[in-house]
Every structure is written in structure tokens, then in C-alpha cells.
Amino acid sequence: MTTFEERAHLALKNIPLQTNLKRGMHYFANARVTALAATGDPLGLRKRGKAIRDAGIANIDVHLASLVTSVERNGGVVHWAGDAAEARQIILDIAQREGVKLVVKSKSMATEEIELNHALEGEGIEVAETDLGEYIAQHAHEPPSHIIAPIVHKNKEEVAEVVSRVAGHPIAADPIAINNFARADLRQKFLSADMGISGANFAVAETGTIVLVTNEGNGRMCTSAPRIHVAVMGADKVIPTLDDLPVVLSLLTRSATGQPISVYVSMLSGPKRAEDVDGPEQFHLVIMDNGRSQFFGGEFQEMLNCIRCGACLNVCPVYKATGGHAYGACYSGPMGAVLMPGIGGVREFGDLPHASSLCGACRDACPVIIDLPRMLVARREQAPHTWIEKLTFRLTRLGMTSPLLFRLGVTFGRLGLRLFVKDGRVKSGPPPINRWTHGRDFPPIANKTFHERWKHMEKDSR
């Protein structure tokens, strides 16, 4: 198991990746701000979004129960999954029972979270990702590196290489040529698939409506062409009423891609009815907990408000420096660093909350004003501390609360550090200062601290 630091090291040394990230992330820089400003009252809208999410999550039990009733009333089937394994098994069971050979998928982070593709493929079921980014990620055998823009870490030459391999003949590094090939390839899949799997950007409790936000139309194909539609959602995606939708939808698209609304917004309320000309014969909704209930009722509850727009990734200096793969998790950036220890465990993901300078840009960008920095610190508190950390911070606390120990520390620190001072600076310090001097010079401790200087200064004033 690698650490964030090791993965970040590889990412920072990967020059093509760095170039791609810079270019890719540049797009996001102003898109969100401009699109939100166009509403005339960005903060007001965000506050409304927060209020909707706060209230919805506070009564999540009631809304989930209502969602189940609504979905069943519409003729759908609801499945509860306690964890990722259960969710996979539920979907696998449906697929096997129905003799599914080919699954087409709309972009879904919930299915990334449960690593669904592997499970289906392991049982001989072909899975085709149909979102262009996910399609390329799948054929490159890579996980998505951004929850909204899965291959923001790739350039068009790299994409063309992947697509050429799929085609078996060269495809030009031209977005239109790449698109045309993928479209032709996917069209066949849409027409022959037995099952379409999607996520759910929102699930409306009062109507049992699954809302899908997409830009390519593939989501609509996945959920209407095959005879079975399975939607997978985290339990937190429920919203109470249709009236709540315009606010959170507007916040989502504006914050994610800077669009006032996405090219497609699909609102799916159950399987095909007798009078419908098309649509799936079966609709299944898998509602997944997978650790989310642990967030409820505690200091991490606010995280359940997240609408998965990716804005916090786009403004995070750490994410922008390393890209998403360094997080080693399906959710990256600040939201991932708070989510992952909860849904994947602190043992494996306990170092992610430290992958932040606590600059607070995420909180400012969040469409529902989630206090991510507060929770990043709370996650740090919760993660198991090594004995070195414990010792370091216990000593630090002692130094910070005892003037005598502090003065002793300063005196010895100053003398000790002097051995390393050259030309008025430390270029290569002893541990742990070497982790600073790795790329930055360290200043010497002043010959006379402010405390020592104050005596004279106090006199000056008299």
C-alpha cells in the first residue's frame, strides 16, 4: 500500500501529467465563478442550497422511506445495500437472473466507489462505459482522476493513442475524429445492451424521480434503450421534493462545469408504462449506505450535503499540483479526503486529510458551503497517530505552555541550528528541518528574540 506522499511524488515528477493538469484545470478556474455570478446572487443561491441539503439530510430517514414508496408506486424495485460488496452482489444477481451479456454504463461515481466493473467482468459480463471520458479511462485501464472530468490528466495525443488501440487502426489526435470513432463504437453497444447502469445526481423522494445530469446524451441512451435500467445511488443523494431540484441542479451544473444547465437533464420516474413507446421494462434502484450512516449525527454529517460537483477539487492547490490519482481513491481533493476515511476506512485513507494546506478555498467554492477545512482537521484528529507524532506534539504542547521549557528550547535550538547556518540561512538542516530544507532555505533563530528585545523597547515608550 502506497502513501499519498509517495503517489504525489510520482505525480509531481511526471512532466506530461503536470502539463496536462495545468491545461485541464485552467478551464475550470473561471467557469464556475462566472456561471454563479450570472445568477445575480451566488451567495444567496448557495445558502438556499445549503438549507435544502441541511434539512434533507437531517430527515434522511423520512425521505428515504418516501423515496422507496414513490419508486415502488412508479413500478420500480428498490434494493438496499449496506456496503460495496452487497451493492455489487445485488446488481450481479439481477444481471445473472436476466441473462445479461452486455451492460452499458452512464458516468457514475457510485459505481466507481463499489468497483462494479470488475465484479461484472469477473462473471463474464461485458461492461461498456459510454461517457466519453469514462470510455477512454476504461480502455486506458485507469480509474477516473476527477469526479467530473475523468481524464483531465490526459491530452488529446494520449487519448488518440488509447482510441487507436481500441479501433485497431490509427485515429488522429483530433477531438472530432476521436468522438466520431467512439460514437460509432458505442452506438452498437447501446443497441445491443441488455442492461443500462447509471448513477443518480439526485433522487427526488416525493416523486421517485432519478435525476441524471449529462452532456453527451449517453446517459439517456443507457437508461432508455436497454430493457433493464439499474440506478445506483449513495443514500445521501436523496432530496425531498421536486421544488428543491431547481436550486441544487443549478448549483451543481454551474459549480461543476460552469454551465447554467447541462446539455441533458434526464428525469426518470420508473420503468416504461403501458402507454410509453420506449423505456426500460424494469427499473431497479440500489440505495447504498457504504459507510455513509457513520457520518450521520456527528461532526461529519455536513459531508452528506455534498452534491459531487468537483468545485473543491478545481480550486484545491494540492489537487491542482498532484491530480486525482495521487489520492489513490475514487473521490479525490478535499471532499475525497473527508469522505474516504469514512467510506474506505482510516487505516487505508487516514493520510488523505493531511493532503491539504487548510487554505479554505474549498469551503469558499462549495456550492452548499460545506466546511471542508473543519472536517479535514477533525479527520486528522480521528486518524491513528504514530508515536513520533504523539511525542512531537506532546513536546510542542509542553513548549507552548511552559515559558521555561520554551526558553530552554530556544537557547538549545539556536545553538544547534547555528551549526547548520551558512550565509545567514540553513540550506540543509538536521531532521526534521531537512523536510523543510528539501526545497526551501530555513532562517536561523534570531540572536535576540522579540522577548529578549522587549526590555529595551518597553523603556523606549517611557
Partner: protein, 238 residues
């Protein structure tokens, strides 16, 4: 005569006492009576940010006592001011202590905030001449919402001209313990910042946060870049 207790912060105390001297000079020039409670050490942010909440509370508790009688507390650091204002009240479960922390938070000011919003200073008697680009430190601009005041201060120095850098409010990569926990990531963020500062064309990089200063100055020195780094108090007191 307004009275202020100076919380000089540990970084200024140890590494940049001249910033403390400049802070005192600027305040005194405005007729402020400055005292320095000798028992002070650190606001406790390093332990707090590292997830040692109980230890941070112990440090905070001590500071509540030290500054209990102060009329107003001024810090030449946005980040430490934010620690006290944003986090101290949440460190205590005991109602009495929490109220005490809230009172402390209410009388704490970042230096430029105190100069502009409390004293209403518009001009400084400073010999500084040159072009300045200002780095908005994260906790100061996003945590405390102090963006205009340092710029107002710079505008009050006759010889100073402000040239904004692109993304002046993006992190410098310091982040306290973050800088040594993930040095390479911290440096990558810093170099982007230094490039922005350089792109401004200014000859002095100014910040109101000693932590950011230490980080950016360390990076510039390593790069062999002669761009000057100054604390805003030094600009106002020169």
C-alpha cells in the same frame, strides 16, 4: 489613548523579531499604548491543525488567562488571529471557558484590520519606496475576510505602489506542518506562487503572515531570486 496588548506570535518572536519591532513602532506612531504580556508563546495552531485538539485547548486555555485583562489584542499574523477568532471558541466544551474564548476572539485583531477598521488610519509616515505585490494569506482573506485593509495600508504609504499579482489569494503552500509533512507538494504550490509574484514585476513581495513569509522567502532564497520579502508592518514602519 487606545491600549493594545501585542500577541507577537512564535514565528515573529523566534525568527523575525524585527517584524514585532515594526508592529510596535507602527502602533505607537498612531498613539497606541502597547504592552507585551511576557508569558505568551504561541497560539497553538500547529497542534490544532495536526489534529491534537486537546493539546490545542491546553495552549488556548493558557492564552485566555494571559490576555484576560487586555482591552484589545493585536497580532501581526492573519493566520494566528484566525486561529483565535475561528477556532478557540470551538475548543472548549465547558460553557464558561467557551464564553471566555468568545470574548477573547471578539477583542483580537489582525494588525491591518486594527489600523484600518479600529483606528481608521489613512496615511503612514514611512520611508518605504518601491513597488509592492501583496500576497493574501489564506486564513486572513478567506477565514477573516480581510482583503481590503492591507491594500488600504499600502495605499497609505506615499512611496509605495501596489501591483497585483495573478491569483493573489491562492495558497503559498505553507500550511504549517503541511510544509514538512508533504514537502514536495508544498514546494510545487509555492513555486507557482513565486512565479505569480515575479510576474507582477514588483520588487517587494509583502504579506501580513509571518508563516507565508518564511515559506516564500525560503523558496526565493533557494532559487537565488532577489525578490524582497517584507511583512506589511515593516513597510508601514520603514
Amino acid at each position: 489613548m487606545p491600549r493594545v496588548s501585542l500577541f507577537v506570535t512564535c514565528l515573529v518572536d523566534l525568527f523575525y523579531p524585527e517584524i514585532g519591532e515594526a508592529t510596535v513602532k507602527v502602533l505607537r506612531a498612531q498613539g497606541v499604548q502597547v504592552d507585551f504580556p511576557r508569558a505568551q508563546i504561541c497560539c497553538g495552531q500547529p497542534v490544532f491543525n495536526s489534529g491534537f485538539r486537546a493539546d490545542a485547548a491546553a495552549v488556548a486555555r493558557r492564552n485566555l488567562k494571559i490576555f484576560n485583562d487586555a482591552e484589545a489584542v493585536v497580532l501581526p499574523s492573519g493566520s494566528c488571529a484566525a486561529m483565535i477568532r475561528e477556532h478557540y471558541p470551538h475548543l472548549f466544551d465547558d460553557t464558561k471557558e467557551r464564553e471566555q474564548a468568545e470574548r477573547f476572539a471578539a477583542k483580537c485583531y489582525e494588525l491591518t484590520e486594527y489600523l484600518c477598521d479600529v483606528l481608521g488610519v489613512t496615511a503612514y509616515d514611512s520611508n518605504f519606496t518601491g513597488t509592492i505585490t501583496y500576497h493574501d494569506s489564506c486564513h486572513m482573506c478567506r477565514g477573516l475576510g480581510i482583503k481590503q485593509q492591507p491594500r488600504q495600508c499600502i495605499a497609505g504609504v506615499k512611496g509605495a505602489a501596489l501591483i497585483e499579482m495573478p491569483q493573489s489569494d491562492e495558497c503559498c503552500g505553507f500550511g504549517g506542518a503541511f510544509s514538512v509533512r508533504l514537502p514536495e507538494v508544498s514546494e510545487a504550490i509555492m513555486y507557482k506562487k513565486l512565479d505569480s509574484a515575479r510576474a507582477s514585476g514588483a520588487d517587494t513581495l509583502v504579506s501580513a503572515d509571518p508563516g507565508c513569509m518564511m515559506h516564500m522567502a525560503g523558496g526565493l532564497s533557494r532559487r537565488g531570486d532577489a525578490l524582497q520579502v517584507k511583512h506589511i508592518a515593516q513597510v508601514l514602519a520603514e
